[in-house]
């Protein structure tokens, strides 16, 4: 076979001048000339004057094409010219034969932005999904298309569009596909996102769905629902902390309207701080974190508050066993601006006072409550500009006043966040969001008796500025880039005390300051129908700055013997790192795909947690001259497959994760060992690693929906200064984790929900034997292994039923009945040892198990008008 003469030469003859046509014209002319239909994706056409790149394989194809078609040599020359012509490349910036359709997708009834709606062209299935502000942009060659917008639970819309000389703006208001409109068949919906995206380990949850699931004491809890997903383990009953793929609770970035929430728990974690009535979207990323997120090793939980209905005023609320809620929303100016205010408060304290508790009871004099306040306003300044202001304020307050002495304790703690955001559309393809964010978490403990009083406090404060660009040059690329700068103020652990007018000297209040900056670039590149690459890089800089005093502690007495002083602004220790992130998808066919990802993350701030349960006393500390940033590397591989027209979504993911420079307190550390010093003097450092497989089976459509998740995993840690340097399993190493979540829509009135969880028991360190020293010390022996005892497995089933009362005019209401722990399983919360001495000198040690919650029924009434 004669090989085609395909030498590329530069000649002055310009093809582009003659062919004032789009690539389509070229494509069709080639097709006409050669009887070969060139696959569209073989060309990456950016300009009217046609600039093409060919993958080597395609080049061969083309060779053959030219050879086989015996094209005129003149055409071949011309064709080859533009392949090399630099002017062709330049002209990319001049004219274009592609145009952009862009706009927003909102919910018709409320005007809320819809995140993750699929927007695509029916003809070629090219498209995108809306970003968190409901914005989309599609740039394609000119032509006539049908633009489709689809979002699960909403009625899809289709509009014919013609892209010719100008870019067009097209916004959509989607109507909810409620039960009444169920017969509407939704066609052509692009519901295979889980298969087709490069995303791994990402889950989006709808608040409406969460609300139909059983809730502990009727309190709808986002964090508890997150823990039902594979790869996410609960830290245990009465704990909002969660563990993602073997990482600690501090390795989860929890964002509420982009503001960091440092302690997402109320009442030691029995409830989470997120009021479901104020929340619009929840996205959990547990696998490959895209480059626009950073600062944590394990996961990102991105929670977006509702924007408020810009169509009409509305009120919704509820009364439950624990708290009551009230939300008011409405337009400030219809279609242009809206507000929402949402509040929640517990009322347990009302029952803990007189006359419910007798004055001799231990409960008398105690007062506990928490509350949350969410508020948000948004303005559509123009078609191109939107402004959002949002805030959250929540507090836990515990007061104790002894009934028989004048001893008092007051423990308030909580978060406050404020976010101001400005969306700007520079260009139909370039979307900008700039945010100014403030966040604060503080804990304090005030106690006193007569003249004497003391205060213990800790906290963290962030001032954050963030700019994120999204550039959608064409349907193949989604480019994100931006920067983020945070100024942290840490108050690790401080105490002050006074008696009358005398202040005790407990040392100066210690604060730590740090600059935390990042720039990133990420591109989601759809190479062809088979391959999709998502790659990015994040450059991070962390610099702890003065004023700061490093206390060099006496090793015996733990009192400072020497101090190194850093002046204000002086760098204590700076870290700079490059964090690459990659993910790829290979479509096996239109219902199944293989995905792989690799990511590196650095974490510069750490939560020093003693007990493993998230207590409000846990303190955040920065990376410093003593504490290195945590470093995580994660490899993951997944197989995704949808069945029966996307009715079922299934996936299997395996992962291996390595975590370096992990932090633990040194052995035998007690919280009282250190006040007003450098907490990090008591840390020891080591590494951890985790691997496992996650199986997920979800039924996305129908009357019965829900999922089954199963995780098998191993997590290990190794610290030179812990457990004699031997490898050990951390407390929350879970071999098996199963969750079953079901909701069933019986009819327009009744919805039923059920969840069942099973988890391998937590690990504890229990003594195996004791011995006596001649000085009278009784010493315990742990058999040389930290966490040598596994508690019994945890399992529990909850059920719920929601009854919607017939709508009366605009007033809607429902009753939610939940039963927590249906089969009344006594799950272990703590096992402790009770030592009994009898007069004959006998010592008896008995293990006792405390279980927190037996079967607990609850009723919640919700209303909306």
């Amino acid at each position: 076979m004669k090989k085609a003469d395909f030498k590329l030469k530069t000649t002055k003859i310009g093809f582009k001048k003659r062919a004032q046509s789009s690539i389509f014209n070229l494509q069709s002319s080639i097709a006409t000339l050669t009887q070969f239909n060139i696959i569209y994706s073989a060309f990456r056409c950016l300009t009217q004057s046609v600039y093409c790149t060919f993958a080597p394989a395609n080049r061969l194809q083309l060779n053959y094409l030219f050879y086989a078609s015996s094209l005129s040599s003149e055409f071949r020359k011309k064709f080859c010219t533009f392949l090399r012509s630099p002017t062709a490349l330049l002209s990319f910036f001049r004219q274009k034969s592609t145009h952009t359709v862009s706009g927003y997708v909102i919910e018709k009834a409320t005007g809320e932005s819809l995140l993750g709606a699929n927007v695509y062209l029916k003809e070629n299935l090219k498209g995108t999904t809306t970003n968190q502000y409901g914005f989309y942009s599609i740039t394609v060659p000119d032509g006539d298309y049908t633009l489709v917008v689809a979002y699960l639970g909403f009625i899809s819309q289709e509009v014919p569009i013609t892209l010719k000389t100008v870019d067009i703006t097209k916004s959509f208001s989607l109507e909810s596909a409620s039960i009444e409109t169920k017969e509407v068949t939704i066609n052509g919906e692009k519901e295979d996102r889980n298969v087709q995206s490069a995303e791994m380990g990402r889950q989006k949850l709808s608040v409406e769905k969460i609300k139909t699931l059983p809730a502990f004491l009727g309190e709808v809890d986002i964090l508890k629902t997150i823990q039902l997903l594979p790869g996410v383990s609960s830290a245990g009953e009465g704990n909002s902390g969660f563990y993602v793929r073997g990482g600690g609770p501090d390795q989860n970035l929890i964002l509420l309207d982009e503001a960091n929430v440092y302690n997402a728990a109320h009442l030691f974690g029995f409830f989470s701080v997120f009021n479901a009535d104020a929340v619009q979207n929840i996205t959990l990323t547990k696998g490959n974190m895209p480059a626009n997120y950073g600062g944590r090793l394990s996961s990102v939980l991105d929670i977006q508050m509702k924007e408020g209905n810009n169509q009409r005023f509305g009120v919704q609320g509820g009364i439950g066993f624990v708290s009551s809620r009230l939300t008011i929303e409405g337009p400030i100016k219809k279609d242009t601006s809206s507000f929402i205010v949402s509040a929640r408060r517990t009322f347990i304290d009302l029952f803990m006072g007189k006359p419910f508790v007798s004055s001799s009871s231990n409960f008398n004099g105690n007062k506990y409550y928490f509350y949350d306040l969410n508020a948000k306003v948004n303005y559509r300044l123009s078609d191109k500009d939107r402004l959002f202001l949002s805030g959250y304020f929540g507090r836990d307050v515990f007061r104790f006043k002894s009934s028989n002495s004048d001893f008092t304790v007051n423990i308030p703690w909580g978060n406050a966040t404020a976010t101001a955001r400005w969306n700007h559309l520079f260009h139909n393809q370039l979307f900008l969001n700039t945010s100014l964010i403030f966040t604060n978490y503080d804990f304090s403990f005030e106690g006193g008796q007569e003249e004497f009083s003391f205060k213990l406090f800790s906290g963290i404060k962030d001032y954050n500025v963030k700019t994120d660009f999204t550039w959608l040059p064409n349907t193949q690329h989604t480019v994100k880039f931006g920067m983020n700068y945070i100024y942290h103020v840490f108050i690790p652990n401080n105490a002050s005390a006074r008696s009358g007018d005398v202040n005790f000297n407990l040392g100066d209040i210690v604060r730590q300051y740090a600059h935390d900056g990042a720039v990133y670039l990420n591109d989601n590149f759809e190479i062809n129908d088979k391959w999709l690459l998502d790659g990015g890089v994040r450059l991070t800089l962390f610099d702890q700055v003065g004023p700061f005093d490093r206390f060099v502690n006496d090793p015996i007495t733990n009192t400072p013997t020497d101090t190194i002083h850093y002046d204000a602004g002086q760098s204590v220790k700076a870290y700079f790192h490059v964090e690459p992130r990659f993910a790829a998808r290979y479509s096996i066919n239109h219902v199944s795909s293989l995905k792989a990802s690799y990511s590196q993350n650095y974490q510069y701030i750490h939560l020093a947690s003693l007990s493993g349960i998230s207590l409000p006393t846990d303190t955040w500390v920065p990376s410093s001259d003593r504490v290195k940033p945590q470093f995580g590397t994660q490899y993951a591989l997944g197989y995704f497959r949808n069945l029966k027209m996307n009715m079922y979504e299934t996936s299997v993911e395996v992962y291996y994760k390595e975590m370096k420079d992990q932090i633990e307190y040194q052995e035998g550390f007690l919280p009282e060992n250190q006040v007003n010093g450098n907490l990090d003097n008591f840390f020891v450092f080591g590494k951890g690693w985790s691997y496992g497989a996650e199986f997920f089976f979800k039924k996305a459509k129908g009357d019965l929906t829900g999922w089954v998740g199963y995780t098998i995993a191993w997590t290990k840690r190794q610290f030179a200064d812990l457990n004699l340097g031997n490898t050990f399993y951390p407390k929350y190493d879970r071999r098996h984790d199963i969750s079953v979540v079901l909701t069933y829509d019986l009819n327009a009135r009744w919805t039923f929900g059920a969840t069942w969880v099973y988890a391998t028991g937590n690990l504890n360190t229990f003594p195996e034997r004791i011995y006596l020293m001649s000085n009278g010390d009784i010493v315990e022996d742990y058999g040389g292994q930290r966490n040598n005892y596994r508690l019994p497995a945890y399992h529990r089933m909850d059920v719920s039923a929601t009854y919607k009362i017939k709508k009366h005019k605009r007033f809607e209401s429902s009753w939610n009945f939940s039963i927590f722990n249906v089969y009344n399983r006594y799950n272990p919360y703590i096992i402790y040892f009770d030592t009994a001495y009898d007069p004959n000198g006998k010592i008896t040690i008995q293990a006792k198990q405390i279980s927190l919650f037996p079967l607990i029924p609850s009723v919640t009434y919700n209303f909306k008008f």
Partner: protein, 298 residues
Amino acid sequence: MKKNVLKYILTFAAITALFTACEKNVTVEVPEAKPLIVVEGVIETGQHPLILLTSSLPFFGEISTSQILANSIQGATVVINDGTISDTLQQIPGFGVYTSTIITGEVGKTYKLTVTANGQTVTSSTSILPAIPLDSLWFKVDGNKDSLGFAWAHLTDPDTLGNCYRWVAQRINHYTYGPDSGKIKDSTFISPVGGSVFEDRYINGRSFDISFPRGAFSFSTKEDDENEEKFHFKKGDTIVVKFSAIDRGCFDFWRTEESQVSSNGNPFGSPQPVHSNITGGLGVWGGYSPSFDTIIAQ
């Protein structure tokens, strides 16, 4: 005060748990805890070795005083090898204490210990290092407490990293007050509260002052361990300080042992396993290179 804070936090946690908590006795199936040989052995410069052997007890179940007494190991084979001679120790009748008249502790020597009893054999090794005496020792009143204070010392740590020390003290004067009037204040050397051992990891090659409070035996009910004299020496006390250079294995044992005993039972603390230098068993085999100082507190 700090302890109190913790207590209130605990109370708070307990109150919270009490809302709905239920409690029951459970059997914890920890791995079969076979009794292990516990060694508490000492070899000191110029002294014969002294080794106490006991058996460990299971953590759960009943322990009686008689059991504790019957717990010492009788008839064990205890051999010490100093590199040249192998010496089999003799049991002092009664308790499980073993000693020898042949081997005497010498600076620079390493002593290998082999104990065979109850079908188990445990081994260990310790060295007697050169003594590093304190430069000076004095008593200083604690703040505004007019007659109570701590023992202070000045130490110059040698330039080589890795030195470990143990401080124990004994009041050899007699009580002239209180219920124990007439009796010697301390019957033996006692570790100070907060720990008796330290190393030069952070103080290598430095010359510095260091203070030690007075220690007490576990479960001591003596009056001066409960009133304001607790942790303090008193003016008029004759204090003998035994300050020893010890090897790493001995240091690790006492550091972790004292840390565990002081943090025990605190659910907010992290577990503290004791690092033993006895292979196959528990306890410590320690070589001491002591120097003694005596001061009268005034």
